[in-house]
Amino acid sequence: MAMTLATRKRLVTALLVGPSAAWLSIFLVLPFIAILVFSVGERAPEGGYQAAFTFAQFMNLPARATAFWNTMLLAPVGAILCLLVAYPTAYYLAIRAPTRFRMLLVSLVVVPFWTSLLVRTYAWIFILGARGLPNLLALIGLPDVRLLNTPGAVLLGIVYGYLPLMIMPIYVSLEKLDRRLLEASADLGASPVRSFFNITLPLSLPGVATGVALVTILLLGEYLIPQLLGGGKVFFIGNALVDLFLQSRNWPYGSAIAVTLVSVVVLIITLAMRLAWRFAGTRQVDLV
């Protein structure tokens, strides 16, 4: 069979992209269409889904308002706390750290992120549990301090779990910084503090925006940290979703919540890209 060069080229492209395109269609697009359809449906009497077209599920969203507000409050607050710890660390790594140790120190930051979040969060159950820190606090005269199962514990877990993800983009943007700008600024008589606020900080804002956006997005879907450190008292949308799908089996309502969650995530990404565009003239938001 004679085949033109163009046809052959197209065939090769289709073969290369085909499998991943199929994967994306079946396990990303199709599931998303499914929850969209479910979100306008009704709960079947025995649990699960029953076809309908109603916005009742969306109207009912306020019933889970606590989970929603917990997430919308603690996720950004957690991300900001993360930023406060991450920025000085990234600054040290990119600008102050001795060159010899820089790569090692950066690796040491990345490694915990790729180890099990479950195990790392679990460690804090000991530290914050009655036999951990509260036990030590009792020795110095502060009895009956409860740390586990409080919003504070959840925030601590968040900072602990997501610190590496916040440090990396900031480190990358600070590392790219042209040092000559700082020298020029010093030559022109600017104090180090002024140089920092007029040069270093603005130029690292894309990294900050990426870090805050990434951490906030991941936190919006967080389940493990509130589950393990919040003990059912401080729960997120993720916890509500698990409950709705696996316990009360109200799938249409859960789907409506999931659709809302994804919309919020898309909104945040759009805002972050706008910000990055505005500050750095690039829409590039580094993900990996």
């Binding site: 290369l16 040290y92 602990y160 610190l163 799908f245």
Partner: protein, 273 residues
Amino acid sequence: MRAFVTAVYLFLYAPIALVVLLSFNAGRNASDFTGFSVEWYGKALSNTFLIQALQNSLMVAFISAGLAAIYGTMAAMGLERLGKRGRMLFDGLLAAAIVVPGVVIGIATLVALVQLFALLNPIVTALWPSDNPPQFGFGYGSIIAAHGLFSMALVTMIVRARIATLGRDIVEASADLYATPFNTFRLVVLPQILPAILSGFLLAFTFSFDDFIIAFFVAGSKTTLPIYIFASIRRGVTPEINAIATLVLTASLLLILLSRFLMRDRPRPAPSE
């Protein structure tokens, strides 16, 4: 400033160190250290449920990361041949696969597959020539597929970043010297992107091995290691979990170090002739 950074590193590593330390505890209580012992490792390794969960996790991680490495690399190679609109659509879907929360991926896959199975299983039953037709259900396949989604997107992005750093010139030089497109790929492109593929594979493996929330929804009756650990924590903290946790941490640590070793920038050896 150095003191602050030192404190940050302590903060990052002290909890991990604590778990490792407590895993060698001789006492029955998980949080009071009474003496050194490896007893709990023996207990953990003779626990058949645990070993089964570990095997499941290793298998799922290996297959999903392997498929992701192959299809992700193919996609990274094919994307630059796509038209502008196709590429933008594909890019959007890849980004979505990475940023959509795991909990949403989990429930959406659950919901979609329940419907799909309900549609397909009667057809299979009708077409099957004898009794006991095979039926689709949740299990290894659904976990592999759901993990593979994120992993494939991850590998595609990593390999693509690597391809972008390769000059077109070596590919053109290879073609000018009459290499077939396949030989150009095998002898010129592949050796250069192999570290990126391996690194992507290892990161994907680690992701799948550590994932709890997606597997929690689509695992059906199967148990992966994170699901087992999560259930154990709910039953109560024992030194056995510390031993398992230490093993998991060690495994992840080795994989990530290997991955970073592969991805490091090394000076290319000068051509010998």
